[in-house]
Symmetry: C2
Subunit: 207 residues, 2 copies
């Protein structure tokens, strides 16, 4: 058969992404194959290549979707103080990771073979997140210079990310299921306490 015109290009793209996400959730990343995705939407593997450059392209587009959802899962909480906002963001982040394990894993743990560099759209979304953190940290310690704030934002967010990673991999060896929230609280609280009393001296110790 040929030229069915059942769906527009964009429709097929959306259908394929939906099917791939479902497959990803059901069977994990290993379960996502061109043939399976295509079959689910009533097409053939070859058709996908009219809409995606390759499977990595499809993965990146799923990641873009995931990152958008993640951004909208990070609630504002503007009524609270900066410390509570930061803790809330961290909690939201890890909660999202737990709720969308498969999508989150693809976003952060999938090695793409072909185009090793991240698409521009993805980078921008991440950088935007960093800037939110920087604003909060600057408010918590107005004495810190911009370079310190940059460092601290990456430190604390790397930390939150690390807790999320290890939680999803069960590499924290926790008893309770909800314990990662206590760990997050420890991370944020202690970091902020230290950050608020940080003096202006640049701390570049070498080990």
């Amino acid at each position: 058969m040929a030229r069915r015109n059942d769906h527009s290009r964009d429709e097929i793209k959306a259908l394929a992404l939906d099917a791939a996400e479902a497959l990803l959730i059901e069977e994990g990343v290993a379960g996502v194959s061109a043939r399976k995705v295509a079959t689910r939407i009533g097409y053939t593997a070859g058709s996908l290549y009219q809409v995606f450059a390759n499977l990595d392209d499809l993965y990146w587009q799923i990641n873009l979707r995931t990152l958008k959802r993640l951004n909208s899962a990070l609630l504002p909480r503007q009524s609270l103080g900066a410390a509570e906002q930061l803790a809330g963001l961290a909690s939201d982040y890890v909660t999202f990771a737990k709720q969308h394990r498969a999508l989150w894993s693809l976003l952060f743990e999938h090695r793409s073979a072909s185009s090793c560099s991240m698409p521009e759209a993805l980078s921008q979304q991440i950088e935007q997140l960093f800037q939110e953190i920087e604003v909060l940290l600057a408010r918590l310690n107005p004495r810190a210079d911009s370079e310190q704030v940059r460092c601290a934002a990456r430190a604390v967010w790397g930390g939150v990310h690390g807790v999320a990673v290890l939680t999803l991999r069960d590499k924290l060896f926790l008893q309770q299921t909800t314990a990662e929230q206590a760990i997050l609280a420890s991370l944020i609280e202690n970091f902020i306490n230290g950050w608020q009393q940080e003096s202006g001296h640049a701390s570049t110790a070498a080990y």
Copy 2:
């Protein structure tokens, strides 16, 4: 041909692991295939299955090696104070990750399809690392109870791990190459400062 007896079982195992590691470093995880590994050591793909249950088994054994190397890359520094020891360990950890990108990525980012649970030997090594951290943190804040220490150890080490992950993925958007050391320093220093002044009250805030 058959029954060459050129090498013992253990020798073949070691040869295969060496070849697989080299392949991993040269071409990334996608470049490691049963046929390629076998060819490199002068055998055939089928022979590997006499020594490994499957490729995931081979991956786990590489990971076990990597973890041992990582452990011996974490230098003691017993002459220094607890804070400096912790910072040193963190620095060693990220340095190791950068120096052994491919091996490190396999250890922490490879999703194994078949046996999803981690082998016992791996878990033990990780738990041992956590306990070192706990000792140092307990020394830094003797007022903290054991549950707080457990949380803090996982928080700070999750944090270090997260910085390592994001560094290797270039998702921290850093200018300088050495900047991740500054970030690590910020993480450790601020966390420890907060941790040392932490009072005994349990902090279980919900967001």
